[in-house]
C-alpha cells in the first residue's frame, strides 16, 4: 500500500484542494495538502529505507494503459534504489516546502490553487521517478512541465510571470522533441518501452546502425543523444538553460521545490535511469560530460555578477546541475545522484532562506538594496550560512562530500573529457564560493541600502517558515556525511544493485577513491579562496568591485547579460519565427487561404451574384431572348447527345 500511497496522496491532496478549495477555505486547503504530503512523505521515507537499504526492490503494476500491437505500456510503480532515493527525497522536501508555503503565501489571494498546484507537481514528479516505462516517465515529465508552467505563471496578473511561464514551457518543448524522438527510437530499436525489456534487448543492438544526419551512426548513440536533449531541456543545461533564471518569477517555494530541488534534476535522473543505454554509447556520454562541465562553469560565471538574489541561486542551480551531468557523463551515476540528493537539501534551504529574506525585506529581491540586516533576522542569517557552506563544499557539510566525489570521479575517469570536466568543476567551485559569499555579504552585511520604511519593517519569519529551514539545514549539514558510504562508498554496487549499470572499463567510481591527495583537497582550497576573495572585495574594500566592473566593462557586461544567450536566441529563433509566422499569417493564411478560401469564395459568390442579377434587366425582350438562347442550347444538346 505504501507504494501507491507515496505517489497518490499528493494527487488526492491536489484534487481536493483544487476542486473544493473554495469551500474548504484557505486553512482547509493547507491542512489537506500538507496532511496528504506528510502521509506521502511517511510512505516515501519508509520506502527509501526499505528498498534502498533493505534491498526490497519491487514493482507495483496498477493497470494496463496502452496495449496496441507490440506496443504495451502499464501504469506501474517501479521501486528500485534509484526510484526509492528520488521518492524519499521528493516527498520529504516537498512536505517541508508545503509547510513553508503555509507561511510564505499567507497573504496571497489564491492559497488553495497554489497548494493544489504544488501537490499536483509532486504527484507528477513521483510518477516520473517511479515510472516503469518510458511512456509513463514521459507522462510525469510533461506533468511536471505543466505544473512548472502553472506555478511560474502563478501570479498571472504579472506580465513578466506570464512571459516566463511561456518561455519555460516553450524552451522545454525543444528538449521534449528530442526526448519524444528518443523514446520512439528506443521503441523502434527494442520493440518495447518497458525498462526491463528495453535493457534486456539493448545488449543485442550494440552495433545496429541507422542513417541519420547524412551518415551512419550507431542506433544506441542516437537514442542516447536524443534522450539527453530532453534531459538538457528539463535540467536547464547550456543551450536550453535560458528558461531557468526567468522561472524565478514564480513564488519562492516554487523556485525551491521545482527549480532547484526536484524537477530540474529530472534530466539527471533520466540519464541515470537509462544508464544501460548510455553505457553503450561512449560518444553520448562524452557529450553529456562536456555539456555538463561547460554548464557548471558557464552558469557560475554569470552567477558572480547577478544582482537578483533568486537569480544568483538559479544560476547556481544551473551550475550544480552541470556537476551532476558530468558526473553521469564519466559513468559515475551514483556520484551524480548523490550530489543531486545533497543539493536538494542545501539548495532548497538557500531558496527558502532567500524567500525568508525577501519576506523580511517587503518583497525586495535586489541585493544592491539590502545589507545590514543580519542582526534583525539572525535565524535566517545562520541558515543561509549553512546553506552556503554546504554549497561551497566546505568540509563536513553535505556539499563537500558530494562535490568532491563528483570531481574525483571526473579525475578518475582518466579521459580527456574527464580532465576537462575536472578543471571546469574546479574553477566553478571557486566561483561558486565567491558568488555565495558575495550574496551573503551584500544581503546581510554592510550599511543598510534599503530605505528606512523597509528597514523598520524587517522581521524574522514566522516559525512555520523557519522550522522547515531548520530541518533542511540539518540535511544540508549531515546528508553528505551520513549517506556518503552507502551512496558512493567502496561498496556502492551493493546499494544501487541493478538500478544503475556501469559498463566494465568505465571505472571512474572506483578510481575516485584512489586519487592523489591534491585532487581531494583542491576543491576545498578553491572554495575557501573564493570565500576569502569575496570577503576581501565586499567586506574589506566595498568600493573595489565597482571599480573592477568599470575597468573590465566588456567582461562585466558580457556576464551581466548572461553571455547574451537571450539576445542570441532572440535574433536566431524568435525574430525569424515571428517574421515567418507573420508572413504565413498575413500572406499564407490571410492572403492565400482566406483570400482564396473562405473570404475568396464569399467574395466570388457576391461577385457572381451581382453579375447574375445584372442579367435581370426587367426588359421583356431580354427575357424572351434568353429563352430563345435556352431553346437553342437545348436543341443542340439534345441533337448531339452530349455537352
Amino acid at each position: 500500500m505504501i507504494e501507491t500511497g507515496a505517489v497518490f496522496f499528493p494527487l488526492l491532496g491536489a484534487i481536493i484542494a483544487g476542486f473544493f478549495g473554495r469551500s474548504l477555505g484557505d486553512r482547509g486547503a493547507q491542512l489537506v495538502t500538507v496532511g496528504c504530503m506528510a502521509l506521502a512523505a511517511a510512505c516515501g521515507v519508509a520506502l527509501f529505507f526499505d528498498v534502498a537499504f533493505a534491498g526490497n526492490a519491487r514493482t507495483v503494476v496498477l493497470a494496463t494503459w496502452i496495449d496496441s500491437g507490440s506496443f504495451e505500456a502499464n501504469w506501474a510503480l517501479r521501486y528500485d534504489t534509484l526510484s526509492a532515493v528520488m521518492v524519499g527525497m521528493v516527498t520529504f522536501i516537498s512536505t517541508l516546502i508545503h509547510i513553508y508555503s503555509v507561511g510564505y503565501m499567507s497573504h496571497d489571494r489564491s492559497i488553495p490553487r497554489f497548494m493544489a498546484y504544488l501537490s499536483l507537481f509532486t504527484f507528477a514528479m513521483l510518477m516520473l521517478v517511479t515510472a516503469d516505462n518510458l511512456i509513463q516517465l514521459f507522462f510525469g515529465w510533461e506533468g511536471v512541465g505543466l505544473a512548472s508552467y502553472l506555478l511560474i505563471g502563478f501570479w498571472f496578473d504579472r506580465e513578466s510571470a506570464n512571459r516566463a511561464a511561456m518561455k519555460a514551457f516553450i524552451v522545454n518543448r525543444v528538449g521534449d522533441v528530442g526526448f519524444a524522438l528518443g523514446i520512439c527510437g528506443v521503441f523502434v530499436l527494442t520493440d518495447s518501452i518497458a525498462f526491463d525489456a528495453v535493457f534486456a534487448a539493448l545488449a543485442g543492438h550494440g552495433s545496429t546502425m541507422v542513417s541519420a544526419f547524412g551518415g551512419e551512426v550507431r542506433a544506441v548513440e542516437l537514442c542516447a543523444v536524443l534522450l539527453f536533449i530532453g534531459a538538457m531541456g528539463k535540467s536547464a543545461q547550456l543551450g536550453l538553460h535560458t528558461w531557468l533564471p526567468d522561472a524565478m518569477e514564480g513564488p519562492t517555494p516554487v523556485s525551491a521545490l521545482i527549480h532547484a530541488a526536484t524537477m530540474v534534476t529530472a534530466g539527471v535522473f533520466l540519464v541515470a535511469r537509462m544508464s544501460p543505454l548510455f553505457e553503450m554509447a561512449p560518444v553520448a556520454l562524452a557529450l553529456v560530460t562536456i555539456i555538463g562541465a561547460s554548464t557548471a562553469l558557464f552558469a557560475a560565471t554569470i552567477g558572480c555578477v547577478q544582482n537578483d538574489i533568486k537569480r544568483i541561486i538559479a544560476y547556481s542551480t544551473c551550475s550544480q546541475l552541470g556537476y551532476m551531468f558530468f558526473a553521469a557523463g564519466v559513468s559515475a551515476y551514483p556520484a551524480a545522484i548523490f550530489h543531486l540528493f545533497t543539493h536538494a537539501f542545501f539548495k532548497a534551504l538557500l531558496f527558502l532562506g532567500a524567500g525568508s529574506v525577501i519576506h523580511a525585506m517587503s518583497d525586495e529581491q535586489d541585493i544592491r538594496r539590502m545589507g545590514g540586516i543580519w542582526r534583525k533576522i539572525p535565524a535566517t542569517y545562520a541558515l543561509m550560512w549553512i546553506g552556503n557552506l554546504a554549497l561551497a563544499g566546505v568540509p563536513f557539510f553535505a556539499g563537500f562530500y558530494s562535490k568532491d566525489m563528483v570531481l574525483e570521479a571526473a579525475w578518475g575517469a582518466h579521459t580527456a573529457v574527464g580532465q576537462y570536466a575536472f578543471w571546469c568543476g574546479i574553477i566553478a567551485a571557486f566561483l561558486t564560493a565567491f558568488y555565495s559569499w558575495r550574496l551573503l555579504i551584500l544581503t546581510f552585511h554592510g550599511e543598510p541600502r534599503a530605505d528606512h520604511h523597509v528597514m523598520e519593517h524587517v522581521h524574522e519569519s514566522p516559525p512555520v517558515m523557519v522550522l522547515p529551514l531548520v530541518v533542511l539545514a540539518i540535511g544540508a549539514v549531515f546528508a553528505g556525511a551520513v549517506f556518503y558510504e552507502p551512496f558512493v562508498g567502496h561498496h556502492w554496487q551493493d546499494f544501487w544493485r541493478t538500478a544503475i549499470v556501469v559498463a566494465p572499463g568505465n571505472d571512474a567510481m572506483e578510481n575516485a577513491h584512489h586519487v592523489p591527495l591534491w585532487v581531494k583537497w583542491l576543491p576545498v582550497v578553491m572554495g575557501v579562496s573564493g570565500i576569502a576573495l569575496a570577503y576581501a572585495l565586499y567586506m574589506g574594500a566595498p568600493g573595489l568591485p565597482a571599480r573592477i566592473a568599470a575597468r573590465f566593462q566588456g567582461v562585466y557586461q558580457f556576464l551581466l547579460n548572461k553571455w547574451y544567450f537571450d539576445e542570441l536566441y532572440d535574433a536566431l529563433f524568435v525574430r525569424p519565427s515571428m517574421v515567418i509566422g507573420r508572413a504565413l499569417w498575413k500572406g499564407g493564411d490571410g492572403a492565400i487561404i482566406d483570400g482564396f478560401g473562405p473570404d475568396g469564395i464569399a467574395a466570388a459568390a457576391k461577385a457572381t451574384a451581382s453579375k447574375v442579377v445584372k442579367l435581370q434587366t426587367g426588359l421583356v425582350y431580354h427575357y424572351a431572348f434568353a429563352m430563345m438562347i435556352g431553346i437553342v442550347v437545348l436543341v443542340t444538346l439534345f441533337a448531339t447527345g452530349r455537352f
Binding site: 451574384a609 442579377v613 427575357y623 435556352g630 442550347v633 444538346l637
Partner: protein
C-alpha cells in the same frame, strides 16, 4: 386504348369546374361581403374535390378516349395541388381585404387555375396537356395583375402573359412537330414511335420545345427570368400561390411527359435536365444573395428549389421520381409557411417587403420569428427539419443513379444558398428593429403554425408521405 368516355373518373375536375361557375354566380348576385362568402365556398369546393380525388381511387384508368388518365401519381399530385391552393387562398383572405382588392373573382380564379393544374397532371395526350396548361396559365395571368390599380402588379401580369405566351408558343410548336413526326399526340403513341426507330430530328426538336415550355412553367433556368419580376410585382398572397401550386403541377407534368412519351430517349433528355437543374441551383443560390426584397429573394429561392427537384428527375428512375414528389410536398409546406410570414409583414397598415423590415422580429414577435427561422433553416437544408430530408432523398437518388457531379453541385449550391437564408435569421435576431410589425390575423397564424409544425415534425413521422410518394412513383414508372 379504350374508346369510352368513362367520364366518372374525371368527377373531381367536373365537380370543381361546376362549383367554380356556381360560386361565380353566387358572387355576382351576393349583396355584400361577397369576398368572405365566396372564399368560404371556394374552400368547400377545394375540400370536396380533394375528397373526391382521394375517394376516386388510384386507377389507373383513362377517360375521354385516352386523353385523360388517373393513376396514383395523378392522385398524389392533385392532393398536393389542392392543399397548395387551399393554403394560397387562406393567405389571401385577410391580405386582399386590407389592400382593398378583396374582389370575389379572386377565389374563383384560384379555383379555375387549380382545375387547370389538375388537368395538367392527368394529361395523357399533348392536347389535353395544352388545354390544362393554358387554363391554369390564363387564370394565373389574371391573378398576377389582380391589384389592377397597382403599377407593379399590372406590369407583372403583363410580363407574365407575354413571356407565357411565348412559352406556350414553344410548347405548341413542339407539340405540332412531335405530331408531325410521330403521327399521334397520345403519349403512348409517341413513346411507341420513339421506341421503334432511331429518333428523328423532328421529334428531338419537338421534345426540346415541349421541354422548354414546361421549364418555363417550373421557372427553371434559362426560362426563369420572369419569376423575380412577377413574384415581386404580384400581390404577396398571389406570389405565395404562384410559388407552390403551379410549381407542383408543372413539375408533375414534367415528370409525366419525360418518363412517359419520351421515356425511350432518356439518355438524351437526362443531359438537358442535368443542365437546367444545375443552372437553376446555381442561379437560385447566387442571384438571391444580393437581394433586398424578400419576395424577389423567395423567387430565386424557388428557382433553386426547382433545380433540386429536377435532380430527382435527372436520375430518372423510381427512386428519383419518389424523391421529387417528397421534395415538392415538403417544399409546398415550408414555402407556404415562409410566405405566411411574409404576408404578415405589415407596418402601420402598409405591407412591407424589404428584408431589413424583419429586423428585431426576434424580440417583437418571437413566435413568428421562430417559425420564420424554422422555415429558413429548413430551406437551407439543416437537419432535422423537413427541408433536409427533401434534399437528402434527391441527393441519394442522384448518387444511386451515378450522378455524382450533380449531387456534389447540389450540396455546394445549398451551402451558398444557406448564406441568404441564414441572413434572414440573422436580421431577425441580431439586428435592431425600429417598429414592430402589425398584429397578424388568425388565418395567417394558423397557416404558419400548421406548416411550421409539419416542418419540424416531419422527421418524427415521415412514413405516410414517403409511402404515398413511393406508390405514386411506382404508378408512373414502376409499371
Amino acid at each position: 386504348m379504350t374508346a369510352t368516355m368513362n367520364w366518372t373518373i374525371a368527377a373531381p375536375e367536373l365537380v370543381l369546374a361546376c362549383a367554380a361557375m356556381a360560386i361565380l354566380m353566387v358572387g355576382v348576385f351576393a349583396r355584400r361581403d361577397a369576398w368572405t362568402m365566396v372564399s368560404m365556398l371556394s374552400f368547400g369546393a377545394l375540400l370536396g374535390t380533394a375528397v373526391l380525388v382521394i375517394a376516386g381511387g388510384q386507377g389507373p384508368a383513362v377517360a375521354f378516349s385516352g386523353l385523360f388518365v388517373v393513376d396514383g401519381f395523378a392522385v398524389f399530385a392533385k392532393v398536393l395541388i389542392l392543399l397548395a391552393a387551399g393554403l394560397g387562398l387562406l393567405l389571401a383572405l385577410d391580405w386582399h381585404q386590407r389592400e382593398g382588392i378583396a374582389r370575389f373573382e379572386y377565389p374563383i380564379i384560384v379555383l379555375l387555375a387549380t382545375l387547370g393544374m389538375m388537368m395538367m397532371v392527368s394529361a395523357n395526350d399533348l392536347m389535353s396537356l395544352y388545354v390544362g396548361l393554358e387554363l391554369s396559365s390564363l387564370a394565373l395571368y389574371i391573378a398576377a395583375s389582380f391589384a389592377r390599380d397597382d403599377l407593379r402588379s399590372t406590369e407583372a401580369g403583363l410580363k407574365y402573359f407575354m413571356l407565357g405566351a411565348l412559352a406556350s408558343g414553344m410548347l405548341l410548336y413542339g407539340a405540332s412537330l412531335t405530331y408531325g413526326y410521330a403521327g399521334t399526340t397520345r403519349f403512348a403513341g409517341i413513346a411507341e414511335a420513339l421506341g421503334t426507330a432511331p429518333a428523328s430530328a423532328g421529334l428531338v426538336v419537338g421534345l426540346c420545345f415541349i421541354a422548354a415550355g414546361l421549364a418555363f412553367k417550373v421557372s427553371a433556368v434559362p426560362f426563369h427570368m420572369w419569376t423575380p419580376d412577377v413574384y415581386e410585382g404580384a400581390p404577396t398572397p398571389v406570389t405565395a400561390f404562384f410559388s407552390i401550386a403551379p410549381k407542383v403541377a408543372a413539375i408533375a407534368l414534367f415528370l409525366r411527359v419525360m418518363t412517359g412519351p419520351f421515356a425511350p430517349v432518356i439518355a438524351q433528355w437526362q443531359q438537358i435536365i442535368i443542365l437546367i437543374s444545375a443552372a437553376s441551383m446555381l442561379v437560385g443560390a447566387f442571384a438571391a444573395i444580393g437581394q433586398t426584397n424578400v419576395k424577389r429573394l423567395m423567387a430565386y429561392s424557388s428557382i433553386g428549389h426547382v433545380g433540386y427537384a429536377l435532380i430527382g428527375l435527372a436520375a430518372g428512375d423510381e427512386a428519383g421520381i419518389r424523391a421529387v414528389l417528397v421534395y415538392m410536398a415538403i417544399y409546398v409546406v415550408m414555402n407556404a409557411g415562409a410566405f405566411g410570414c411574409i404576408v404578415a409583414m405589415r407596418k402601420g397598415g402598409k405591407a412591407t417587403e424589404r428584408i431589413e423590415d424583419l429586423a428585431g422580429l426576434g424580440s417583437t414577435a418571437p413566435m413568428m420569428a421562430l417559425a420564420m427561422a424554422v422555415f429558413m433553416f429548413s430551406m437551407a437544408g439543416i437537419p432535422p427539419l423537413a427541408g433536409f430530408f427533401g434534399k437528402l432523398y434527391v441527393f441519394v437518388a442522384a448518387v444511386q443513379a451515378g450522378l455524382w457531379p450533380l449531387a456534389i453541385l447540389g450540396v455546394l449550391a445549398s451551402v451558398v444558398s444557406a448564406f441568404y437564408y441564414l441572413r434572414i435569421v440573422k436580421v431577425m435576431y441580431f439586428d435592431a428593429g425600429d417598429v414592430a410589425l402589425d398584429a397578424r390575423p388568425a388565418s395567417i397564424s394558423f397557416v404558419v403554425a400548421a406548416t411550421g409544425a409539419a416542418t419540424v415534425l416531419f422527421a418524427a413521422l415521415p412514413a405516410p408521405l414517403l409511402g404515398a410518394a413511393a406508390m405514386a412513383a411506382r404508378s408512373l414508372v414502376g409499371g
